[in-house]
Symmetry: C2
Subunit: 106 residues, 2 copies
C-alpha cells in the first residue's frame, strides 16, 4: 500500500470558493475516486492557497491513470481549473507535486 502526499496551489482570492465547492463534491466524483482505489483521501487548504492532499492506495500511478480516464473527473477538473494558480495549461491533477515519504508509524 502506498501513502501519498501531494501539493498544488489555489489562487489566494479563490480559497473560499475552493472550500465551498469541496463541501459539496459531486457524488459521481466520489464514486469515481472510490472505484479508482483512492482510500482515506483528504484535502487540506491553507489560507494562502496551499493545498495538501493525502491518500492511501495500492498503486498511485494506476489510481491516477484511472481518474485521468474518467469523464466525471475531466468535468470536475474543468470546474476547478479557474481557481488554481499557475497551471501553465496543465489540469490540476497533472500539476500536482508528489512528496516522497521519509517517515511513518502506524
Amino acid at each position: 500500500m502506498e501513502r501519498v502526499a501531494f501539493t498544488f496551489r489555489v489562487r489566494p482570492e479563490c480559497v473560499d470558493e475552493y472550500r465551498h465547492r469541496h463541501a459539496a463534491v459531486w457524488p459521481q466524483m466520489i464514486s469515481a475516486l472510490r472505484a479508482a482505489g483512492w482510500h482515506n483521501y483528504s484535502l487540506f487548504l491553507a489560507e494562502d492557497g496551499l493545498v495538501v492532499g493525502y491518500l492511501e492506495t495500492e498503486d498511485f500511478e494506476a489510481a491516477q491513470a484511472l481518474m485521468a480516464d474518467s469523464d466525471v473527473n475531466r468535468r470536475w477538473q474543468q470546474y476547478m481549473a479557474g481557481l488554481l494558480a499557475a497551471l501553465d495549461g496543465a489540469t490540476a491533477d497533472a500539476a500536482l507535486r508528489r512528496l516522497p515519504l521519509v517517515f511513518h508509524i502506524d
Copy 2:
C-alpha cells in the same frame, strides 16, 4: 478522530541529512509519539525542503501538549533544529503550520 496535516521547512541544503535522520528515528521517540496518541503518522519531504506531516489522533491539541512535555521529544527537536528553515527561535513542533481539512472520503 481528527485528521491533521501540517507543514514546515527544512533548509534546502539539509534535505539529505533530514531524510537520513528520519530513516533511523530513535525508538524512544517512536514510543513517545505512540503514547501521545499520534496514529498513522507520516512525514513527506520535497527536494526544496517543504515537509508535510499527516496524522490521525483523538485530539491534536492534547497530542501536541503530551509531546511538548516529553524529554525525548525535547532532545529530538534540538537534534533537528539546525536543519530547519526560519524558525525565529521557535522549536520545530511549535513552528509547524496546520492546514484545515476541506474534503475527506474513507
